[in-house]
């Protein structure tokens, strides 16, 4: 069913992309499929871009997805935004360095208040610090003993950590150690 | 003198035993009937007794100080005291002193003991529960007072026993309009006294985790269960006595048969009172405390005050 309407529907999305890009020449944008748009924005312009999106009726921020790319030495942040008006999903991609002290972003909680929660989440699991979000230090999901580790980063050796923390892994066979899937 | 005292003690003991047993059965009936309304089987009728035995046989108990223990004991003691004053057919021992005001007070003061014990634990949940319990008490008091006033003025006596006797000749209280109004108000009050919805605000498990009861466990809770059973018996008995005619059977030649018959009649009346409470409890959600206070100060108060004024005229 998707194929039949693709031409007409994609036009609408393309129009939106064009309209946005017109005002934000620093961004790159493309239509993924119907109701899916993707923008790539440099990290320092993210606030401007999201302000622009908000003005253009992209009301709902669904999620901030960090993805760790250790090979590139970068963490990709994807702001997933849905527009109730345009019925379109926008992914705003940006990349920041993954070193702990450099993995900093300006907060967007004044643009999308709900981002506060997502940013806390991203901070807890990826160590991305969002400047201006005062709840960053507030205890979130992880316990304090794990405060220094960021478990969702790719270089977090989970098995090693689990062995260290919980001492034995297997009740029935302690010499079962080929834990690979 | 001594034989009569032993007789009184024996009688009191039997009454106490009967009341406790029937009270526990009432608790069981509440659970079973509620279960049936829920479309389930429910526990056996003797379940509350098992619960109590279990609680009493706990091997470790905690206390938060002397008042924590004493409050619980006081609650049970006061309930036993109240029970002794309420006419139970023809066999109550202190019914000559069974004054309406006195009994009304005595039925309330166990709460004070429980509140004392609960609050001495220092738990905020218990504090919240006590707050709610006290405000419920306050809210209930107005219609309750008017209902009692209506009774006293209608019969021009405060003696519960005399009221019962008057009903034997003149018919049940609820056949008279002023007292019918008072009975309706009192029944709504009874809903709060039993701690059933919509007025189980005090314990509200989903909101404040049993409130005052949150710190009780082991034998303290066991004693409170006994107290609850006796209180249930006493409250229903009081209502049956003052509004539903009580029971004084003199039809048989044997006094034992008379006693048994009147106990039976009372039991049926008590059950009727209980069932109404269960039904209301099963179908209404819980009020919040301020809504409950507003509710009690509105409809039941108007009804009861109308009853009282009609009775006074």
């Amino acid at each position: 069913m998707a194929n039949g309407q693709e031409g007409g529907m994609s036009m609408r999305e393309q129009a939106i992309v064009d309209k946005i890009l017109e005002k934000a020449p620093y961004a790159e944008g493309k239509v993924r499929r119907e109701r899916r748009i993707e923008f790539t924005v440099p990290a320092e312009r993210i606030r401007d871009f999201l302000t622009l999106l908000k003005k253009n009726n992209f009301e709902l921020m669904l999620q901030i997805t960090p993805v760790d790319w250790p090979n590139d030495g970068e963490i990709e942040l994807i702001y997933q935004i849905w527009s109730v008006t345009h019925r379109t999903h926008v992914m705003v991609r940006t990349r920041i360095p993954r070193e702990l002290e450099k993995a900093r972003m300006p907060t967007v909680k004044d643009i999308y208040p709900v981002a506060e929660t997502y940013e806390r989440d991203a901070h807890d699991f990826f160590g991305v610090y969002f400047e201006g979000n005062w709840k960053m230090e507030m205890p979130w999901i992880l316990d304090d003993t794990e405060q220094d580790i960021y478990p969702l980063r790719k270089d977090f050796d989970m098995l090693q950590y689990v062995k260290k923390k919980y001492k034995i892994l297997d009740r029935f066979d302690e010499n079962k150690d080929n834990y690979v899937i | 003198m001594i034989t009569s005292m032993i007789g009184i003690a024996l009688k009191a003991f039997l009454i106490l035993l009967y009341a406790t047993f029937v009270g526990f059965m009432f608790m069981g009936i509440i659970r079973i009937v509620t279960a049936r309304i829920h479309r389930r089987v429910g526990p056996p009728i003797y379940q509350p007794i098992l619960d109590t035995i279990k609680l009493l046989s706990k091997k470790s108990n905690i206390t938060h100080g002397l008042i924590y223990d004493f409050g619980v004991l006081y609650a049970l003691g006061a309930t036993i005291l109240a029970l002794m004053f309420i006419p139970l057919g023809s066999i109550s021992i202190l019914r000559a002193y069974g004054d309406l005001i006195l009994i009304t007070f005595l039925l309330e003061i166990p709460m004070l003991g429980i509140m004392f014990a609960a609050m001495s634990s220092g738990n905020p949940w218990a504090g919240l529960g006590s707050q709610r319990a006290l405000l419920t008490l306050l809210a209930v008091q107005v219609p309750l007072g008017f209902a009692i006033v209506a009774l006293a003025e209608f019969y021009d006596t405060f003696s519960t026993y005399q009221i019962v006797m008057a009903q034997q000749t003149a018919g049940w209280s609820i056949t008279y309009l002023p007292l019918l109004l008072a009975a309706v108000a009192y029944d709504i009050v009874l809903q709060a006294m039993f701690g059933k919805e919509p007025f189980d605000i005090m314990i509200a498990p989903g909101e404040i985790s049993l409130g005052p009861m949150v710190e009780f466990g082991g034998k303290h809770m066991g004693i409170l269960q006994i107290q609850h059973a006796i209180a249930l018996f006493a409250e229903t008995l009081f209502f049956s006595n003052i509004f539903l005619g009580g029971a004084v059977v003199t039809a048989f030649a044997s006094s034992i048969l008379n006693t048994l018959a009147s106990l039976g009649i009372l039991l049926i009346k008590q059950l009727a009172v209980l069932l109404i409470a269960i039904f209301i409890g099963a179908i209404f959600p819980r009020f919040t405390i301020d809504q409950a206070a507003r509710f009690y100060w509105k409809w039941p108060t108007i009804i009861a005050a109308a009853g009282a004024i009609l009775a006074a005229l």
């Binding site: 109730v84 929660t117 | 389930r40 949940w125 919240l128 919805e197 919509p198 909101e207 209404f284």
Partner: protein, 391 residues
């Protein structure tokens, strides 16, 4: 308040230890061991019976799914990710499968689509019944809750026959579903169940949704307005109760929903009662959808894509790419974002539970100023589901 903290600071500097620190308000630890929260904790700062400040403390159910998913083969992740949303576990299964389908480019067979839609709707019905149970338990009208839980068992039995499990169905997998519909008898049973539940809806109305005291308890409690709800990312019935007609099934159609006829309820009050009534109406609509699906009948054909690679599931590889998919769950917009780097395991999976939006900031906001008795009602009217916050 500022003066208070300064006083304390001063006292501390002078070596005085005046505990407790703040005597004007008191702290109430609402959960995790509490009947109204499902392993979720709210720290309440209280004044009398009013909430002054609420801090949500999630994380009791955090198991690190997003990490674990990176260590398990593509299909097996279904067995893991469905635990994100326990009461309606088919939703995470479906979004994950849909995202993987999109990355691979699979066109799911029609029969599978029908089954997926049916399963989703059944899950919605069962989740709503579960919610009615929760709401009525929190309101104190236990009767309705007992019934709701009992009627839900009928759906559980059907799920059991269809998928082989009661709660964790592990049924919808990338490329279709795992099993075919057991028999026509199952369809008849489903029809009976739908009719049965439909016939019982008035009972719930009598006890809960038309009860005078329910109205008293829920009217004007936890009010959100449209602007606030949108900016906080609230979705689902909670958003619709504020007057925004947003339903993923219509806004971003998937599976068979474009062909189905149903009404989206919208109310403007934005209070707990509006949210409850929206959910109540959606339950009716879901039953109606199920009826339509049953009238439509499952299309014939395979229930899975036929792909030779499926023969070797442990080594099954997905081409590099990413996809976002979302469905409408009873709690709101449930989304999954899946990244593949071409290996036999996902590179990154992120689940977007709707509760993370309405269960933290919105909850904290709505609780301020409410009575302690309203806390469970607000919690339940938002239908907060802690596991999808914690993941």
């Amino acid at each position: 308040m500022v003066a208070q903290s300064e006083l304390i600071k001063e006292a501390r500097e002078n070596g005085m230890d005046l505990l407790p620190l703040d005597k004007d308000t008191y702290e109430l630890f609402f959960g995790p061991q509490h009947m109204a929260t499902e392993n979720f904790s709210i720290i309440l700062k209280m004044d009398g019976h009013r909430v002054v400040e609420a801090i949500a403390n999630p994380g009791f159910l955090h198991r690190g799914f997003e990490k674990l998913a990176e260590f398990r083969p593509w299909h097996t992740n279904v067995a893991l990710l469905l635990r994100v949303c326990v009461p309606e576990s088919d939703v995470p299964e479906t979004i994950y499968s849909m995202a993987v389908d999109e990355i691979i480019g699979w066109e799911v067979p029609e029969r599978a689509q029908w089954i997926r839609t049916t399963v989703l709707e059944m899950a919605r019905v069962s989740s709503y019944l579960f919610w009615i149970m929760g709401l009525s338990f929190k309101l104190g009208v236990y009767t309705a809750g007992q019934w709701a839980a009992a009627y839900r068992e009928r759906l559980m039995a059907l799920f059991e026959q269809l998928t082989g499990a009661r709660v964790y169905h592990i049924y919808t997998i990338p490329g279709g579903v795992r099993r075919d519909i057991p028999s026509d008898r199952w369809l008849h049973q489903l029809k009976d169940t739908v009719e049965y539940i439909k016939s019982k809806l008035p009972d719930f109305d009598h006890l809960v949704f038309e009860n005078y005291i329910t109205f008293k308890r829920m009217e004007g409690i936890g009010v959100m307005n449209k602007k606030f709800a949108l900016s906080e990312g609230v979705t689902g019935p909670n958003l619709r109760a504020t007057g925004v007609p947003y339903d993923v099934r219509r806004a971003d159609p998937y599976l068979l929903y474009p062909e189905l006829d149903f009404e989206v309820p919208v109310l403007n009050e934005g209070d707990a009662l509006a949210r409850a009534l929206i959910r109540r109406f959606e339950l009716e609509q879901d039953l109606y959808i199920l009826e339509q699906l049953l009238d439509m009948g499952p299309p014939s054909g395979p229930y899975q894509v036929s792909d030779p690679r499926l023969k070797n599931l442990p080594r099954f590889k997905v081409p590099a790419g990413d996809a976002f998919s979302h469905v409408e769950s009873t709690k709101g917009d449930f989304g999954a974002y899946v990244v593949s780097d071409g290996k036999n395991k996902p590179y990154r999976v992120q689940i977007r539970g709707p509760s993370i939006a309405h269960g933290i900031r919105v909850l904290e906001h709505l609780l301020v100023g409410s009575r302690i008795a309203d806390v469970p009602v607000i919690l339940m009217s938002l239908d907060n589901c802690p596991p999808d916050i914690d993941r």
